[in-house]
């Protein structure tokens, strides 16, 4: 009897105490916006697009990714330069001892795929947003441009990559197979073409840096010449529409492309945006001044330096692009850290260092950037490059004379004496082993050029790259797929030889 009473009391107590506070366990994440609240306004759409753009700068560890991933992957392995032994991964890169795991190329892959993912999110959700249709179409164009840009970069350096055109939802989506390079190029051509049709020729001042019709056409042309069987005529027509758009011109001063004095200027077709005006310490600056020249990370190879010593004006002096490309022991070489009376020889001896972007521009002086970061933009696609690629297309189509005229335009800007008559093959050789390196050294073009021409090994050997013996033909043209992807995606196959 007594026990029954007790049990009743206990049960009753449990009931009494449990009934209250129905919603006690409901919480919301105060740090985020839920998906239902988003995708309402044009501002939301622009925010989503901004996140896709942001991956262009490889925002690894705040401000180091641009150098440690992009610059390394695109520039460290060529015949044009030497580099100081620093981190093992960097040494691996320039000495063709690539391991499966190397953060420089791994994060290059990671951030560009993050960019692809953000563009797909944008493309799949943009129709939920109520906004002006013209602007919506332009933004869709930007997203497609970026999606193609990232894929093109990845297929250029990794060759056998997954082609991602949708946001993963079910488990299988996370484990894609590799597409053929041709399938990737075809999709890039499609996306760049769509983008070119949708994008404006110029953006208003406050939106400079967003992709334009000219940028889409330039990369459309680039895709045509990068793909397995180049389509010179299609490329030529794409480049032609850039050249004939009336939107672009060569800057009078070669050096102004690299010193922040002419950001998003007439020679800029597509440009990566950086600033040191960082609200709330958001890292949008890059690291070139310190890493590149000032810390002595690298400079021209002997072959390249000797070659450039012939890049002269009519009066026999060195051309503007010699002084704009590297520091060397010459009375006319100046560096921003020079004090009164300093010369390169008196402070740095016979060292030769890269100069492009190593500059503290007057624009930045007001904010006194420190040595380890810079707000100077990096031009990803220069009009001079478009002209030289057009020259190459014309030459390949037999229009050698017209090609020479275009090349001389580019030379004239730096005061270099024009070239005379050459045969098609002579001009091809000139473009490959003189003109493109002279104009575009360290701008992320050389490796891709050597690979598409199929001449990596002989060129490295002829130009005395000290690590050429480590270079395996048919292997080292491309980078190994990151092991994190191989480990987590059973459908991937490592590139041959790794």
């Amino acid at each position: 009897m007594k026990i029954n009473k007790v049990i009743t009391v206990l049960l009753l107590a449990l009931f009494v105490f449990t009934g209250c506070e129905e919603n006690f366990l409901d919480v919301t994440d105060p740090n985020r916006v839920t998906e239902d609240q988003f995708w309402q306004t044009e501002d939301d759409a622009f925010k989503a697009l901004t996140a896709a753009y942001a991956q262009l700068t490889i925002p690894l560890w705040g401000r180091w990714g641009h150098y440690e991933c992009k610059i390394l992957v695109e520039n460290y392995r060529t015949d044009l330069g030497y580099f100081m032994p620093d981190y093992d991964e960097w040494v691996e890169m320039y000495s063709f001892r690539m391991s499966e795991e190397n953060y420089t190329k791994d994060y290059y892959w990671y951030y560009y795929y993050q960019g692809i993912y953000q563009t797909n999110i944008f493309l799949e959700n943009i129709d939920r947003v109520e906004m002006d249709n013209t602007m919506k179409a332009q933004m869709v164009g930007e997203a497609k441009f970026l999606r193609a840009f990232y894929h093109l970069k990845l297929v250029t350096y990794f060759k056998n990559i997954p082609l991602i055109l949708a946001v993963p939802t079910v488990a299988e989506d996370f484990y894609p197979t590799q597409a053929t390079p041709d399938a990737v190029y075809t999709q890039c051509i499609q996306d760049f073409t769509d983008a070119a049709n949708a994008l404006p020729t110029q953006w208003e001042s406050r939106y400079k840096g967003r992709a334009t019709k000219g940028a889409a056409n330039a990369y459309l042309g680039l895709t045509h010449i990068y793909k397995t069987n180049p389509d010179w005529s299609a490329a030529s027509s794409a480049f032609g529409s850039v050249i004939n758009s009336g939107q672009y011109d060569l800057l009078p001063e070669f050096w102004d492309n690299f010193n922040g004095m002419s950001e998003n200027g007439p020679e800029s077709v597509f440009e990566l945006q950086f600033t040191v005006n960082r609200p709330n310490n958001v890292s949008e600056s890059q690291t070139l001044p310190a890493q590149f020249g000032a810390w002595g990370q690298g400079g021209p190879s002997d072959w390249y330096f000797d070659m450039m010593m012939n890049d002269k004006k009519a009066d026999g002096s060195y051309s503007d692009r010699v002084y704009g490309t590297f520091f060397f022991d010459d009375p006319n070489t100046t560096a921003f850290w020079f004090e009164e009376g300093d010369t390169w020889g008196s402070t740095e001896g016979d060292r030769k260092l890269w100069k492009k972007w190593v500059y503290k521009s007057e624009v930045e002086t007001a904010n006194e950037p420190s040595w380890d970061r810079s707000g100077v933009n990096t031009v990803e696609m220069r009009f001079a490059d478009v002209l030289l690629m057009q020259a190459e297309c014309l030459n390949e189509q037999g229009q050698t004379t017209q090609a020479i005229d275009i090349i001389n335009l580019v030379r004239a800007r730096s005061g270099v004496t024009p070239i005379g008559t050459l045969s098609q093959s002579e001009l091809r050789n000139h473009i490959r082993n003189y003109e493109r390196p002279a104009e575009l050294a360290f701008e992320g073009k050389r490796w891709a050029d050597l690979v598409r021409w199929g001449v990596v090994e002989p060129t490295l050997r002829t130009h005395n790259n000290p690590y050429v013996d480590n270079f395996d033909v048919g292997v080292d043209e491309y980078l190994p797929i990151p092991s994190i992807d191989l480990n987590n995606n059973p459908n991937l196959v490592q590139n041959p030889g790794f």
Partner: protein
């Protein structure tokens, strides 16, 4: 003094002394060692008379003349009952009593969560820590004092820093998620860091499902119940003071190359690789004596002092008891500039009036820590790998610290000065913590009690970090100041009903309860660059790039629970538990989890057929139950976008004015279908006491299976997201055997005791379904997650070493070429084994080579006393444990410009073939340094963790001082270590609390110091 005490006694025990019809019982209570027992209870049965003993163990009871039964009792001792005590009017009956320590199956009670239980009636697996041994470990850190003291509890120290980073695993690693136990301090789930070991009365560890199930969803990793001192009723005022101080030093150093060896080695490296030898290196090789010879270990590791003070006042009368304790400890670390300073005040009291009982606990503490900077990356590693020719100081450099000056050593990498890394990163972290708790209890009818308890833990954290630039002029970043403040509040309200009922031989204790818990966290941090040079310390003074960030979260838990403990005649025992928890970390459909358990016990020795006189108690027991774990990311089930302007990953610059725009992204995928992770545990065991409790033995065996383990599915990076969704896909199994034994001999004047505990378990991952590649990699050797050395996969223990297998060195180019699997390998290169015999060497050839989980851990305590001297030694040994020696890997990798171990001077050459150090060649073309068994070492060790000798001064010597008791002691920590491990310390690398897979890698981690201490114990 005596007089004062007498007066105090009179105040505390106002006892009538003059009535003619009364007499007295008086006497002294002593323990087995003959020492007076203070505050023991003397009860006169069937009366309301009683007393507690004073500081000398004396008691006195005035009561009417008659014949009585007197009972003396004290926690942890066997109760003595003396019958037929005759008291005559006006006379004093003398009654001295000796109590014997009760070892295992005694009246001793164990704190089991929402109550206490008699130890002899326990049916679950609970370990009570022997406070006698625990108190001998001089520490300001409860966890480090606990290591090796309890069977089934692995306290894996991550390192030996003053803050004592340790990860605690009860019965193995139950999950790849948070596997730290729940700490319940005075009944309130709380943080362990804020309790000083000196404040602790008892520690009980709930290990199996039966004992822990009352804490349901948070109990899967076990529960550590800590009770702090509260004083006891009817006890005299007691003041205790303890202080000690000492010196710590690095016990072992690595032998690194001097400048002569280094320049020869680098010369060989560069020459072998066909690289240009810089002029400065040739000059150095020619005349190494002309360069600084910096012993970086000597610069970085310094002897460090520590002090500790503990003061407590306690007492009680018939309606209240209290304890006030203050502690202060300052432990400096052997890494220069590191410290932990801890100050605490704790006030506990209880009050009784009629059917009501009230009480409170209040603890205030402050911890100030200066940590090691860049531990294991630019910290410990650099100490070993910056060459000796780099000077410690150099006025030409920014900050005044030496650097490899590029004008003197062009081409040499700018390795940061490790002393500068430590000293120029000026950091102080302050934790202020208040724990306040009150309760009220009401006895509704006899045996039925209602209790309401409300508690609040509030923590305020402040981090101050001033970075002073150092390095080569013109190449240093700005100085900067960063500060972070955060607040964490934990609130809990608990209602419990308990009913105590006995009839015939049935005894029942029933419990029902309801609780609500809320955790709230909020932080704000900010910083600025470029402050005035003269070391200012406020953010306002900075001029560049100011920034501010903040975030918050909350967590809620709603629970109902119940328990019935039943026994029949103290012989057949049964406990049934159930708890239902609702957690805000899951979506509405999966929010609630129910966690039941049951256990049974049989005290065989109570049966009439049991007739083994040597065995005075034997109990068999078994339990089974289900526990949960909700330790996953908050809000993991909510799909949301990151729109934080502070997130640089998603912002970008547009416009001629170069404005930064904030982006919005979905870097994590929502996991809306996740549910509770559950752990099922089966436990069987026995407790045995022999020869009148002289020998005590307990043993247990358990099987613990974790199911629906919540895993963050790792995705290929091509998915474009930071991390995959969380899912219930893993299974883990732990099995173990635990054994403890004790022996006491107090029969002669040399009294001694042994306590031994043994822990062994095996861990195995049973399933990781849903994870492509079926594995997690971990234990990165270097910054940026490259070179993982552990892999967690099905069939292997968690974080198993996954390494290349080597087979010595190629003795000639021809041998290397003939092997054929290593392109370009030459004589002197390491030969790697094609373990799967597929004719190619790749990651598939990496093999599992054990783990850092020890096969067995054994703690051995020896206590002895002889006259005024006492002695304690604590030996700890860990067997079957491996460590990847990352420090040695750094010092033998022979790849770049880093300084190397002196052993590397003995590298392979055709003339020096009998060595295991490969040939010296720059950039390591054969990747001899890949993570291989070359760097995996056996880390078994046996360590004299603590040894203490004390001397208690004779009473006469104290007559003039006013002190009752004074004991002086000297002790040494980590005095002797026997190990084959070549690193600083085999005890590090026991697991990172924040990263389950990061265990077993010694990145020159902060070593444990050897410490010598001197101290005094005083009481009055």
């Amino acid at each position: 003094m005596k007089k004062l005490l007498t007066i105090l006694m009179l105040v505390i025990f106002p006892i009538l002394t003059s009535a003619q019809s009364t007499g007295k019982i008086a006497g002294k209570l002593v323990d087995e060692e003959g020492a007076p027992m203070i505050a023991a209870n003397i009860i006169v049965l069937q009366t309301s008379f009683g007393a507690a003993t004073d500081l000398d163990g004396n008691y006195e009871i005035v009561l009417p003349a008659g014949t009585y039964t007197v009972r003396a009792q004290y926690i942890g001792y066997k109760t003595e009952t003396i019958e037929e005590v005759i008291v005559r009017a006006g006379a004093t009956t003398s009654l001295d009593i000796q109590l014997n320590l009760d070892l295992l199956l005694s009246e001793e009670v164990v704190v089991v969560g929402y109550g206490v239980q008699k130890k002899r009636e326990l049916t679950g697996a609970v370990t009570s820590v022997s406070m006698k041994s625990f108190n001998k470990i001089p520490s300001q850190n409860t966890l480090s004092a606990l290591q090796g003291q309890a069977t089934g509890v692995n306290i894996g120290s991550y390192d030996g820093s003053p803050s004592g980073n340790a990860s605690v695993q009860i019965r193995g690693i139950g999950t790849i998620n948070d596997n730290q136990p729940l700490y319940v301090i005075d009944g309130v789930p709380s943080e362990i860091n804020y309790v000083d070991p000196g404040e602790i009365e008892s520690i009980d560890i709930l290990k199996d499902a039966s004992s822990a199930a009352i804490y349901g969803s948070r109990a899967a990793n076990g529960v550590i119940m800590i009770t702090t001192k509260r004083g006891s009723k009817n006890s005299p005022l007691q003041v205790k003071f303890k202080t000690y101080g000492g010196i710590q030093s690095l016990a072992k150093t690595y032998d690194v190359m001097n400048t002569g060896q280094y320049s020869n080695y680098m010369y060989d490296m560069l020459t072998a690789a066909g690289e240009t030898v810089p002029d400065w290196l040739s000059a150095m090789k020619a005349n190494p004596g002309a360069y600084p010879a910096t012993d970086w270990q000597d610069v970085y590791y310094k002897d460090a002092e520590s002090v500790k003070y503990e003061l407590s006042v306690s007492g009680g009368n018939d309606w209240m008891n209290f304890n006030v304790a203050g502690t202060y400890g300052n432990k400096r670390g052997i890494v220069i500039g590191t410290k932990q300073e801890k100050t605490g005040l704790r006030i506990n009291s209880d009050f009784t009036k009629g059917k009501f009982k009230f009480g409170q606990s209040l603890a205030i503490s402050r911890i100030i820590e200066s940590p090691q900077q860049h531990q294991g990356w630019e910290g410990g590693y650099r100490v070993l790998t910056v060459p000796q020719f780099v000077p410690v100081y150099d006025n030409a450099m920014v900050g005044g610290y030496g650097m490899p000056d590029p004008s003197l050593y062009p081409g040499f990498p700018l390795m940061p000065n490790p002393l500068a890394v430590q000293e120029m990163g000026e950091e102080e972290e302050t934790y202020d913590h208040i724990m306040a708790s009150v309760y009220a209890e009401y006895e509704i009818v006899k045996g039925l009690k209602y209790k309401l308890q409300m508690s609040k833990n509030a923590r305020h954290y402040h981090d101050y970090y001033f970075y002073h630039p150092f390095g080569v002029p013109g190449n240093v970043p700005d100085n900067s100041l960063f500060e972070r403040r955060s607040r964490k509040d934990h609130t809990i309200i608990e209602n419990t009903l308990t009913y105590d009922l006995s009839f015939d031989k049935h005894n029942i204790v029933a419990l029902a309860g309801y609780s609500q818990e809320k955790d709230e966290y909020r932080n704000i941090s900010g910083g600025v660059y470029r402050l005035p040079d003269d070391a200012t310390n406020v953010i306002d003074l900075g001029t560049n790039n100011p920034y501010v960030n903040g975030s918050s979260w909350e967590d809620k838990l709603l629970s109902q629970f119940g328990r019935i403990i039943y026994d029949y005649d103290d012989t057949y025992l049964l406990t049934v538990n159930i708890r239902r928890d609702g957690s805000s970390r899951f979506n509405e459909d999966e929010r609630y989890g129910v966690f039941p358990s049951a256990s049974v016990g049989w005290r065989v020795s109570k049966e009439s057929f049991f007739n083994i006189p040597e065995v005075n108690d034997l109990k068999l027991r078994a339990s089974y139950g289900v526990l949960g774990n909700n330790q996953i990311d908050r809000y993991a089930y909510i799909a949301s976008l990151y729109v934080n302007p502070g997130s640089s990953e998603f912002s970008y610059v547009f416009g001629d004015d170069q404005t930064v725009y904030t982006g919005a992204a979905i870097p994590k995928l929502a996991a809306d279908a996740i549910k509770w992770e559950t752990t099922k545990t089966l436990n069987i065991g026995f407790d045995l006491a022999m020869f009148n409790d002289m020998i005590g033995i307990s043993a247990e065996y358990y099987v613990k299976n974790t199911e629906d383990m919540l895993l963050n599915i790792p995705l290929p990076w091509s998915a474009g997201v930071w991390e995959g969704p969380v899912a219930n896909v893993g299974e883990m199994e732990n099995k173990g055997f635990e054994f403890s034994a004790s022996y006491r001999n107090y029969k002669s004047s040399f009294k001694y005791s042994f306590d031994l505990n043994l822990t062994t378990y095996s861990n195995k991952v049973v399933a990781l379904s849903g994870i492509q590649g079926d594995a997690y990699l971990g234990g990165a050797l270097e910054y940026g997650d490259t070179n993982p050395v552990t892999k967690t996969t099905v069939g292997q223990p968690i974080a198993s070493f996954w390494l290349w297998q080597t087979a010595g060195l190629f003795q000639s180019d021809a041998e290397a070429a003939a092997y054929g699997l290593q392109d370009g390998a030459k004589g002197g290169d390491v030969k790697f084994v094609d373990t799967n015999n597929d004719g190619i060497l790749n990651d598939d050839d990496r093999a599992f080579m054990g783990s850092s989980i020890p096969d067995m851990e054994l703690g051995f305590n020896f206590n002895a006393s002889w006259g005024a001297f006492d002695f304690n030694a604590f030996i700890f040994t860990s067997i079957g444990r491996k460590l990847f020696n990352g420090a040695r890997w750094q010092m033998e990798r022979m790849s770049e410009w880093e300084n190397q171990s002196a052993d590397v001077a003995n590298s392979w050459t055709p003339e020096n073939p009998n060595t295991d150090i490969p040939r010296a060649i720059f950039a390591d073309p054969n990747q001899n340094s890949r993570p291989s068994d070359r760097f995996l070492e056996n880390a078994d060790y046996l360590r004299l963790k603590n040894i203490e000798i004390g001397y208690t001064l004779p009473k006469e010597a104290l007559n003039l001082t006013g002190f009752e008791r004074m004991r002086i002691f000297i002790s040494a920590e980590n005095l002797l270590t026997f190990t084959g491990y070549s690193g600083y310390d085999p005890a590090v690398g026991g697991g990172n609390v924040n990263d389950t897979f990061d265990r077993g890698v010694d990145r020159a981690l902060y070593p444990f110091a050897r410490t010598f201490l001197f101290g005094i114990d005083l009481s009055l």
